[in-house]
């Protein structure tokens, strides 16, 4: 139990690092010094004193050095600065898409579980339809006919990611519907929306929240895949998926362009899954085999 708790904290700490980096990226990696004199002389420089979008064609594809710890890319941009800034796209896409997916899945699941009948069958059919297409195929298909933007990508990912949440909330809502306290509330004259929102949903949510880290990990992966295919947030914003696509064309040279975004993506997804495993082992429901 104690070891399990320590693991949970480690997973949570590793995971929390990424939103933190995303928030601090523009402070940690910027050309402008932290402290400077009035005449513009640097007193304290930023830890990574490069603008992520600043191209420097004289310093293209430099291997790692003390100046550029992770080297520079095709346009002479600092890879470390771009990797730090790339966290913003991945983290934001993951958080936004999983929050939307929770909202959608919990709403549809609660209505289906509560109402039963035609509404239930309709929602289950929708779940089956959405799950019959690999998320990536559906998102890629839809993204091809929409303007490439971060928001579009996040919404599309959410539209494919809500199904497991809906299944779980539906099953919970079905159980809770029969609980005595719901009968009591109904007898006291509560309306149907109030019953669902106040009495059923809060009890049906915990397993769905425990699922959230997995949904988030999957959303981060889909966003990176979308960017890798060139369908994510448009350039010049740094994103790990696109950085990997650019690095692919530079192989066999420029290994320093491949490893940082690859490692960052791997660690973010791994920590999200670890957090999910930890949450699942404490909770009643384990979502995936």
């Amino acid at each position: 139990m104690n070891a399990g708790r320590a693991r949970t904290w480690r997973a949570a700490a590793l995971f929390a690092l990424f939103p933190l980096l995303a928030l601090l990226a523009s402070v940690l990696a910027r050309e402008k010094p932290w402290v400077e004199t009035k005449t513009g002389e640097t007193i304290v420089r930023a830890p990574v004193p490069f603008d992520p979008d600043a191209a420097d064609l004289d310093r293209r594809l430099q291997p790692p050095s003390w100046k550029h710890l992770f080297g520079t890319d095709e346009l002479g941009r600092d890879v470390l600065a771009r990797t730090l800034h790339g966290a913003r796209v991945s983290v934001a896409a993951g958080l936004l898409a999983s929050a939307l997916a929770l909202f959608l899945g919990a709403g549809l699941g609660a209505v289906a579980g509560w109402a039963g009948g035609a509404a239930d069958r309709g929602v289950l059919f929708l779940v089956n339809v959405v799950q019959a297409l690999p998320a990536l195929v559906l998102v890629v298909t839809a993204a091809s006919f929409l303007p490439p933007s971060f928001l579009v990508a996040a919404v599309l990912i959410a539209l494919t990611g809500w199904t497991d949440t809906a299944r779980i909330v539906r099953a919970e809502a079905k159980k809770i519907r029969e609980a005595p306290f719901v009968d009591a509330a109904r007898a006291a004259g509560a309306s149907a929306p109030r019953l669902v929102l106040v009495h059923v949903l809060p009890h049906a949510l915990p397993p769905a929240v425990a699922l959230l880290p997995y949904v988030l990990g999957a959303a981060v992966l889909t966003e990176a895949a979308l960017s890798f295919l060139g369908l994510g947030a448009p350039p010049p914003d740094a994103s790990w998926g696109r950085a990997l696509a650019e690095a692919r064309n530079l192989l066999p040279g420029a290994w320093w362009c491949v490893l940082p975004p690859a490692a960052a993506l791997f660690l973010l997804v791994l920590s999200a899954r670890r957090l999910g495993d930890a949450a699942a082992s404490r909770d009643v429901q384990s979502p995936s085999p």
Binding site: L133, P134, V137, R167, A224, P252, P289
Partner: protein, 322 residues
Amino acid sequence: MLRFVLKRAASALLTLLGVLALVFGLLAAAPGDPAAMAAKAGARASAVSPEALAAFRTLYGLNRPPLERFGIWIVRAARFDFGISLSDGRPVGERISGALPATVTLNLAALLAALALGVPAGIAAARRPGGRLDRISGTLGDALFATPSFVLGLVLLLVFSGWLRLTPLFSDGGGFRGYVLPVVTLALPTAAFLARFVRSCVASALADPAAAAGRARGEGSGAAVRRALRRSAAPFAAMGAALVPSLVAGSVLVERVFSLPGAGGLLADAVFARDLPTVLALTLLSAGCVVAAAFLADVVSAVLDPRTRDAAAPLAPAGEAA
């Protein structure tokens, strides 16, 4: 039994129809004119005249109402006629059948490799839960499972093609050696998933009273493992179906990473060219694979375990995105 199969087949077809309606609806609701977009994606710099656009719309039936287009498309698709590609004017069916051999080879080889690797690893881990082998394969499996296929592919490409120069950098026309890395990339996460699944099946079967009775009769642990595997045949079928979406999505990315000329690469290309007929046909193909796999899994588990016939069998859990 026949009734069960027919019912499942009907619901599978309905699901497929739902998928098509969803995709068609999305495309119809999307802003922008497919003719103009295809023209923009295909034209070099010159503007396309309004007359040419109108002719293009008539040729592809884009001026009809969406519902009518959907109906026509379904009727044609039922006869394997997917229309003409907007990007090179060839029939879509011909383009896809040209790309399929590479994809089928990739997926089958990856599946076989994953089975050969994952099942023995899972059994070995289950024999000593908490042992060294179990912990190592658990950690490795966790890590592999969290690795996006294209990231794994890029790192393998960097090491084996970039540094060691054992495999080609681009797989198109690379022959056998060109397939090695894509297959490994697709197989490793699948093997990790399989190993974990087999481990939990076998471990729980080895811990139950039937296994204890077997031991009391003097059976070796090999027999117990065999019996455990046979008992988990039904969940195994369901798990096989769950692997299909992740293989399909994985091959889109893996083919792109290794520039393997398969259906996944074709989808990515068609998406860029805004080639609607090709995109739709490939969507149908991948949804068809997933639905067919789920249907087969239902039938197989109904044959193996009659109890599942009455239950409202849930579709396999969603696979990973990539």
